[in-house]
Every structure is written in structure tokens, then in C-alpha cells.
């Protein structure tokens, strides 16, 4: 089994503690008589500000790892540390707060709430975070403007194209200013042109806002184009961890910045 402990040989000195650190992470569950090892002993470190792609075929456990990092699921054994906090030790309430403030998520199927307008969708995490009513409006407006949807604020998701929906989902993921952006096949439902558009945005957030990005994909080409590091999974195990020199070289000058806290 490949350990990733020595992997950051390629990038700038690791002055910061890893943003994400999993240790012998396992997620097993039972389906009838058989024990499914969705995640099986994954040890992984991701530096703050890094853009990592989790690659693998379907059923490889890449989404399960992402869900564990997102705090949507709990490990069967092993641990997940995000910013030095052990997610396995958090209560359900604390885990919800962690998802609210530390993590932003985008999904393949966008997962906007169909009955709400874009503005309301983007506003929703702020309701949970109990942001002042007065501030929410302008923040939602700004958030949508950042992804170029200011004109579509009052439309419902069904009135928009897939690319627009994913942009709105990105705006929602970022609205509470998280340090971590987790993307599960974000371009899976998009054509290549809109996929590129979305990925450019994700890269922009990674570079300009210093967000740590973990993206799950099965498209190697996409991963090679955007991610600084490619991690390969198969059958719940980590089978490869490569630095993507092409991307790393391009983004190296920016690596000096600190943990992705936005202005």
C-alpha cells in the first residue's frame, strides 16, 4: 500500500500543518451478508491551499473518502483530521457546524433546491449560520455576481442550464467562506465547454482565495489539467499519488500564501 507521507516533494516547503490528514481511514458497511469495504485503510495528507484530484473508477471509494472528509459520514475506523480537528470525535451538532463553516460542497447533480430561487438557494447556508437578515441579501447578490449569475437571481434552478446551476451551486458552497471546497464529479453532468468554465472557476477560487480543493473525478484528463496532485483509488485502497508537475509549475509562485482564508 502506498503511503502519501513523502509525497509533497514537488511543491513549496510545507510550513503549514496539513489541511486534511487521514490515518488508516476505513469505511465498511454491511449489505446483506457481505461486508463492503468502501474505504479501506487510506492514509492521506493534503496541504492547505492544495488542489487535489481523487481519481478512480466507479466503486473505487473516492466519493466515500470525500464524504468522510466532508463530515457527512463517519469512519468505521481510522481518523480524519481537518485543520487538526478529529472529525470522528465531533458530535452530530459539531459536525453540522463544521460542514456549515469549514466545508463547501458541489455535486455532480448540482443539488440545488428546486423550489427555491437561486438567491434563496445561496442564502440558505446563511440562514443555518444565522447571518443577519439584512446582510444576507447583499451577500447572496455578491456571491451570485462572482459566478456571473447576477441576472438570474430570481430564477428557479429548473429555468437554468446545467452550467448555470453548477455555478449557482458553487456560489452557495462559498457563501459561508469555507476553507475547504469539496467537489464530487462537478463536471459529470456538463458538456466539455461548460465543464471547462466551471473548472476554471474552481481553479480561480483555489488560487485567488487560497482554498484547499479536493475534487473527485473519473476523468484523468480533467484532473491533469487542473489538479496539482492526483491520488488514485481502487477498491477502497490508495493505489497511487502523483504530483502533477505541469500544474504545480504554473501555480508555484502562488504557493507562498497561507491557509485559504478569504478577505
Amino acid at each position: 500500500m502506498v503511503s502519501t507521507d513523502s509525497s509533497p516533494r514537488n511543491s513549496a516547503p510545507t510550513v503549514n500543518a496539513p489541511a486534511i490528514h487521514t490515518e488508516q481511514l476505513c469505511r465498511h458497511y454491511r449489505m446483506g451478508e457481505t461486508l463492503i469495504r468502501a474505504v479501506d485503510g487510506v492514509t492521506l495528507k493534503v496541504r492547505a491551499g492544495e488542489f487535489v484530484a481523487l481519481l478512480g473508477s466507479s466503486g473505487s471509494g473516492k466519493s466515500s473518502v470525500l464524504n468522510l472528509i466532508a463530515g457527512l459520514d463517519r469512519p468505521s475506523s481510522g481518523s480524519v483530521f481537518v485543520q487538526e480537528r478529529d472529525l470522528a470525535q465531533l458530535s452530530r451538532q459539531e459536525l453540522a457546524r463544521y460542514r456549515l463553516h469549514t466545508v463547501g460542497m458541489v455535486f455532480q447533480s448540482f443539488n440545488l433546491i428546486a423550489s427555491m430561487t437561486l438567491a434563496e438557494n445561496v442564502e440558505l447556508p446563511m440562514r443555518f449560520a444565522e447571518v443577519d437578515r439584512g446582510k444576507r441579501d447583499s451577500l447572496a447578490r455578491e456571491g451570485l455576481a462572482r459566478v456571473g449569475l447576477q441576472a438570474r437571481m430570481n430564477h428557479r434552478p429548473s429555468e437554468l442550464s446545467g452550467g448555470e446551476q453548477q455555478r449557482a451551486a458553487l456560489a452557495r458552497a462559498l457563501i459561508n467562506q469555507p476553507q475547504l471546497l469539496l467537489a464530487d464529479e462537478p463536471t459529470g453532468n456538463l458538456d466539455s465547454h461548460t465543464g471547462t468554465e466551471i473548472m476554471n472557476m474552481v481553479r480561480e477560487f483555489n488560487q485567488q482565495l487560497g482554498m484547499t480543493v479536493v475534487m473527485v473525478t473519473h476523468e484523468r484528463a480533467l484532473a491533469e489539467r487542473y489538479a496539482q496532485r492526483l491520488i488514485f483509488l481502487a477498491d477502497g485502497k490508495l493505489i497511487g499519488d502523483e504530483s502533477n508537475s505541469a500544474v504545480v509549475a504554473k501555480t508555484a509562485p502562488d504557493d507562498a500564501r497561507t491557509d485559504g482564508v478569504r478577505a
Partner: protein, 470 residues
């Protein structure tokens, strides 16, 4: 999540499945309406009964008797009281004393005697009683044919319907008494009755007192004046009214069928049963009353007054006990009506559970999304609670309105029926303000309770599973 956000989201979610949530809310409304209708009927009937009793003069009257009265012998509650022989007599100074007690509106002597009345030269034996002018407002005289006494001393009588029938030689029909009072009154009003009665006449004037053999106890100075004679008298009285109802139904067999103005009756000095009993004590020609009726200002405090009068050494009789059992009856009635009314609400609350469980299935993914973007278990739980509560409040408000409307319709219908039966209209449906508030609150609480299970289930939903669900 803050309450305004919660409410806003709940309302928008309810609007999303408008038909289903409306039907559920209508279910609650019907439940609340039936509860309100049942309870307001109970309350209305209770108020009607109280009002009737109050007007009948039964509720607010205490009958005071001396312990010496035969009727009181052997009454259990009196075992500890002074022996009848030592107790006070009920005379004019005592009446005035009672009248000065707090909460007393008036205290008037009960003058009643059985005597002969002649009409058309035929004798009729009946009980005659005196009425104070305040009896004018008594419910029994509401439908009186003719009018009440023109003054407190006028030589006039009001007769009861049954006696009118007797005078006219009609036999009262058994069963439902359908005889029209107006028909009875027409030939009688303005006619004269001749009343024969025994007048007690003070006998100081007669020097032959000693002759009656009562001088043996000459050391008792009061005895000197205790003699009187009884003279037979006649008085012509004009019939001015015929009463439909029985104003003295409370008195049972001793109730009177002919009524005189009080002051007139007092001036007649009719021989009373007590006169004989008290012959050894009566010091003056001041009358001694067999009983005094006391009307109270506030019937709720009738017991305090009774206690005060008992402390003076008299016996009291009120139908407080009867009203108490009446109140008990209505409490039980209200309880049962409430239970029946609540049944519909209970069914409606199952509707809420059903609707919300359906909503969870339908909104599984949405719940997963909310959790993924940071909603806590309690946020999700509160949201479902808020939806249940909103349906409850809305259903409660609509239900109260509906219940009120049902009440009005039934009230109207019944009054139309009463009118057909030539009976006066009654307002027996009452929705007090507290019932409005309580019904809405109850609907809200029932809905929240119904929301417990769905909300808990939604909160426990595993977000990974929920997001996988398409």
C-alpha cells in the same frame, strides 16, 4: 436557525405541496370546529340554564326559617345548633337585621296561607302567597297575561294558570300542557275574587284576657300582651294577571297558586301557623314570620350569606346544592363533549403525521442537501415542527371560525324551530374568547405532538443516503 427564517421556510414548504397540506389543514380545521362546536354547545347550555335559574329567583334566594319551625326538627346539620326551644324567633327586627347583612338585596317575609277564594259564588281552596314588587322581574312573570300589581298595596291578585283552569271549570289535561294562557286569561282578567281569611287581631282592648286561662304564668310579663282574637274577614280582589309558569316551583307542594302584593298581605294580619306556635312568646302584635326570603346581590357568594344567617341562629335553605350538582353535571357534560370533539382532532392529527411522513419521503433529497450544506439535526427537526405547527395554527383559526359558523347556523335553525313551536328564541350557543384562544393553542400543541415523530425521523436521516436517493 432563527424563528423568522424557520417560519418563512415552513410556510414556503407548505405552499409547495399546496393541495396536500391544504387538505391536512382542513382536516385539523374540521377537528377544531367539532371541538369548538361541542364545547360551545356545552357552555351555551350551561349559561342558558344558569340564566334561567337566575331569573327564576331560585338561584339567588335564601329561605330563612327559625329553628323552632317544625320543618327543621331532626335535620342533621342542626344537631350542634341550639335546641329549637332556645333559638330566636323570626320577627320584624330580625328581618331588618338580615336585610342589613352584606350581599343582601332584600329580605321579605313569606306570607302564605291556605284559604278559600270565591269566584262566581263557588269556593276554591288554595294556597295564597305574597309577592314583593321585585318579583316583577321574575322569569315566571315574563309571559304573564294582563299585568303585574299596579302597586304594593293594591287589592289585586295574579293567579297561576292551573288555578285559572280550576276557576273556569276546565280540567287540566294530563301530559303536555298545551292550554293557551291567553285563552284562559281573557274571561278572567278584571274579574273579582272574594278571599276569606282569618285575621289575627290584637286583644289588648279586651279586658277579659284572664278568662282564657293563660294567666298562670303571670311572672312572665310578656304574656300579658300575648293574647289575640281571630276574626274572619272577606276581601274583594281584582284579577290582574294570569301567569303561565309556576313562580314557586322550588317550593314543591307548598307552592301557591294565587299571589297578593306583599304590603297588602302584611296589612291583612292573616293568621299564620307560627302564630299559634308562638302564642306563648309573642310579646307584641308584631308579626312573627314562619320564614323570610332573602334575595342576594351576588349568587356566587350565597354560601357566605347563609353562614352569616346560620350564625344568627336560623336555618337556611337555598338551592345552592342543586346548582352545585348542576355545575357538576355540566362539567361532566363538557368533558364528554370535549372528548367527542377531540376525536375528530385526533384523527386530524394522524393526518398531520401522514402528511409529514410523506413530505419526508418526498423531500429526502432536499433534507440531504440541507444537511450537506450545514443544517444541523435540530434545524431539520425544527423545520418539520414549524410546518406541523403552522398547519396547526392555521387549522385552529379556520376551525374556530368554522365552529362558530356551525354554532350560528344551529342557533338560527333551532330558533326557527322554536318560533314554529311558539316558544321564545334562546341563545344557547356561546363561543367565549377563552375558548377561541384555547382551541387554537390546543390545535397547535396537538399538531406539534403529531410532528414529533416525522420531525425526529427527518432529523435522523443519513445525508449520504439521502443524497444518493433519486
Amino acid at each position: 436557525m432563527k424563528l423568522p427564517d424557520l417560519t418563512e421556510l415552513a410556510v414556503r414548504n407548505l405552499r409547495e405541496s399546496l393541495l396536500r397540506n391544504s387538505l391536512t389543514t382542513i382536516g385539523i380545521s374540521v377537528g377544531v370546529a367539532s371541538l369548538v362546536a361541542m364545547l360551545s354547545l356545552g357552555i351555551g347550555l350551561q349559561q342558558l340554564a344558569s340564566r334561567r335559574l337566575m331569573k327564576s329567583g331560585l338561584f339567588d334566594t335564601v329561605v330563612v326559617t327559625s329553628r323552632r319551625d317544625l320543618r327543621n326538627f331532626g335535620r342533621e346539620e342542626d344537631r350542634n345548633a341550639p335546641a329549637p326551644g332556645e333559638s330566636r324567633i323570626l320577627d320584624e327586627p330580625t328581618r331588618l337585621e338580615i336585610e342589613r347583612l352584606p350581599n343582601v338585596q332584600e329580605a321579605y317575609p313569606d306570607i302564605r296561607f291556605i284559604t278559600e277564594l270565591r269566584y262566581d259564588d263557588k269556593p276554591h281552596l288554595t294556597t295564597v302567597a305574597a309577592l314583593p314588587s321585585s318579583a316583577r322581574s321574575n322569569d315566571a312573570f315574563e309571559g304573564v297575561q294582563g299585568h303585574f300589581f299596579s302597586s304594593d298595596t293594591a287589592p289585586e291578585v295574579i293567579i297561576q294558570k292551573a288555578f285559572a283552569e280550576e276557576l273556569l271549570g276546565k280540567t287540566p289535561k294530563s301530559g303536555l300542557d298545551e292550554t293557551n294562557v291567553a285563552e284562559l286569561a281573557a274571561p278572567l282578567l278584571g274579574k273579582e275574587l272574594t278571599m276569606r281569611y282569618a285575621q289575627r287581631e290584637a286583644a289588648q282592648a279586651a279586658p277579659s284576657t284572664a278568662a282564657n286561662g293563660k294567666t298562670t304564668a303571670s311572672d312572665d310579663q310578656s304574656l300579658g300582651a300575648a293574647a289575640y282574637s281571630v276574626v274572619s274577614r272577606e276581601l274583594k280582589l281584582k284579577i290582574v294577571g294570569v301567569a303561565d309558569l309556576d313562580p314557586e316551583s322550588m317550593r314543591g307542594p307548598t307552592r301557591a297558586r294565587v299571589f297578593l302584593p306583599l304590603e297588602l298581605a302584611e296589612s291583612l294580619h292573616v293568621m299564620q301557623p307560627t302564630d299559634l306556635r308562638e302564642i306563648s312568646r309573642a310579646a307584641t302584635d308584631q308579626p312573627i314570620y314562619s320564614s323570610v326570603s332573602v334575595r342576594v346581590k351576588n349568587p356566587a357568594e350565597i354560601r357566605t350569606l347563609e353562614d352569616a344567617i346560620k350564625k344568627m341562629g336560623f336555618n337556611t335553605l337555598s338551592i345552592l346544592d342543586a346548582t352545585r350538582s348542576l355545575q357538576q353535571f355540566f362539567a361532566v357534560l363538557d368533558l364528554f363533549l370535549g372528548i367527542f370533539g377531540s376525536l375528530a382532532l385526533a384523527v386530524a392529527s394522524i393526518g398531520i403525521v401522514n402528511t409529514l411522513v410523506m413530505a419526508i419521503l418526498e423531500r429526502r433529497r432536499e433534507i440531504g442537501i440541507m444537511k450537506a450544506i450545514g443544517a444541523s439535526d435540530s434545524d431539520v427537526k425544527k423545520l418539520f415542527f414549524a410546518e406541523a405547527g403552522a398547519m396547526g395554527i392555521l387549522g385552529g383559526i379556520v376551525g374556530v371560525a368554522l365552529g362558530w359558523a356551525i354554532g350560528q347556523v344551529i342557533n338560527l335553525g333551532t330558533n326557527i324551530y322554536l318560533k314554529h313551536q311558539s316558544l321564545p328564541p334562546e341563545h344557547f350557543w356561546s363561543v367565549p374568547l377563552w375558548l377561541v384562544g384555547a382551541a387554537i393553542l390546543f390545535a397547535f400543541l396537538v399538531s406539534l405532538t403529531a410532528g414529533l415523530y416525522p420531525a425526529g425521523r427527518a432529523a435522523r436521516l443519513d445525508p449520504v443516503q439521502a443524497l444518493r436517493y433519486e
